[in-house]
Amino acid sequence: MIETAPHPVTAVMRALADPTRRAVFERIFDSKEVSVAELTRGSGVTQGAISQHLKSLKQAGLVAERAEGRNVYYRAAPEGLEPLVTWMDHYGVFWRERFQNLRDLLKEIDP
C-alpha cells in the first residue's frame, strides 16, 4: 500500500526544523493567542515571512487560527506534536500519576 500523505512525524519535523519557524511556534505556544502583527514585532523578519511560517505550521497541524474582524489570531495546537511523543515519554508521565492514585487509594482503604 502506498501512503500518499506524508507521515505525520515527517510533517511535524519538517515544520520545526527551521529555526525561525520553531521560534515562531514557541512564541505562539507561550501566548494564549497572538496576531500576525504581534508575532512580526521584534522577530527581525517581515510580516510576509511570518505568514509563510504560520501557513507551514498550520499545515503540520501545530497551530490553529481564529478570525476576528480584520485580525487573525493564532494559538498552539500541541496535539499536533503527538507523533513526536515517544511511548517512553507517555509512560513516564502515566506511571507517575498512577503511583499517586495508588497511594491515594491505599490511604483510603488502609488509613
Partner: protein, 158 residues
C-alpha cells in the same frame, strides 16, 4: 522469561522506566490493590479479563492513536504472592510513530517489606527508542520545554 528474549536487536536503544517508592502499608494490602481487578480499575485503568494467574490474558482500553485502536494486550507472566507480579504489556501499530507505535514491553511489580511498610518497585521494560532519536536531541532547548509542556497536557487527557 529473560530480558534478553525481548531484545532481538541489540543495536537498538532499549530503555526501562523505573519507579521505586516506599508506601506505609503491608505487602499484603499492597498486593490486594495490585491484583484485584476491581481495585486495579480504581488506580490504574479498568482491566478486561484480569486474574492474577500465570498465563491469563487481559486488556486495557486506552486512547487510540493513528492506526492503533488503543487496546493494550497483557499476559500474566509471573505471580509470586505478596512479592512479585509480572505482565506483558503490548500494543501499537507498525504504521505509527511516537504515541501509537509498536509497543512490546513488560511491567514488573516487586514488593519488599521494609520497616516503614512496603517498598514498591515498578519496572516498565523494553522501550525501543526511535532510530532517529538524534534528530530530536539535536533540537534547541526551547524544543525540550515544548515537549515537557506537552507531557503535562497528555497527562491531563489520560
Amino acid at each position: 522469561m529473560s530480558a534478553a528474549a525481548l531484545q532481538p536487536d541489540t543495536q537498538e536503544n532499549i530503555r526501562d522506566i523505573v519507579i521505586d517508592e516506599v508506601f506505609p502499608h503491608t505487602p499484603e494490602t499492597v498486593w490486594k490493590v495490585l491484583t484485584s481487578a476491581q481495585l486495579i480499575a480504581r488506580w490504574l485503568m479498568r482491566p478486561t479479563g484480569f486474574e492474577a494467574v500465570e498465563g491469563k490474558t487481559f486488556t486495557f482500553q486506552t486512547t487510540p492513536g493513528g492506526h492503533w485502536d488503543g487496546v493494550i494486550h497483557c499476559r500474566v507472566l509471573e505471580v509470586v504472592a505478596f512479592r512479585r507480579l509480572v505482565y506483558a504489556w503490548k500494543g501499537g501499530d507498525a504504521r505509527n510513530t511516537g504515541y501509537g507505535a509498536p509497543l512490546d514491553t513488560v511491567v514488573t511489580w516487586s514488593l519488599t517489606p521494609v520497616e516503614a511498610g512496603t517498598r514498591i518497585q515498578l519496572v516498565h521494560a523494553g522501550f525501543v527508542l526511535p532510530r532517529n532519536e538524534t534528530a530530536y536531541t539535536g533540537m534547541s532547548g526551547g524544543w525540550k520545554k515544548v515537549v515537557r509542556q506537552l507531557d503535562e497536557i497528555s497527562g491531563e487527557n489520560s
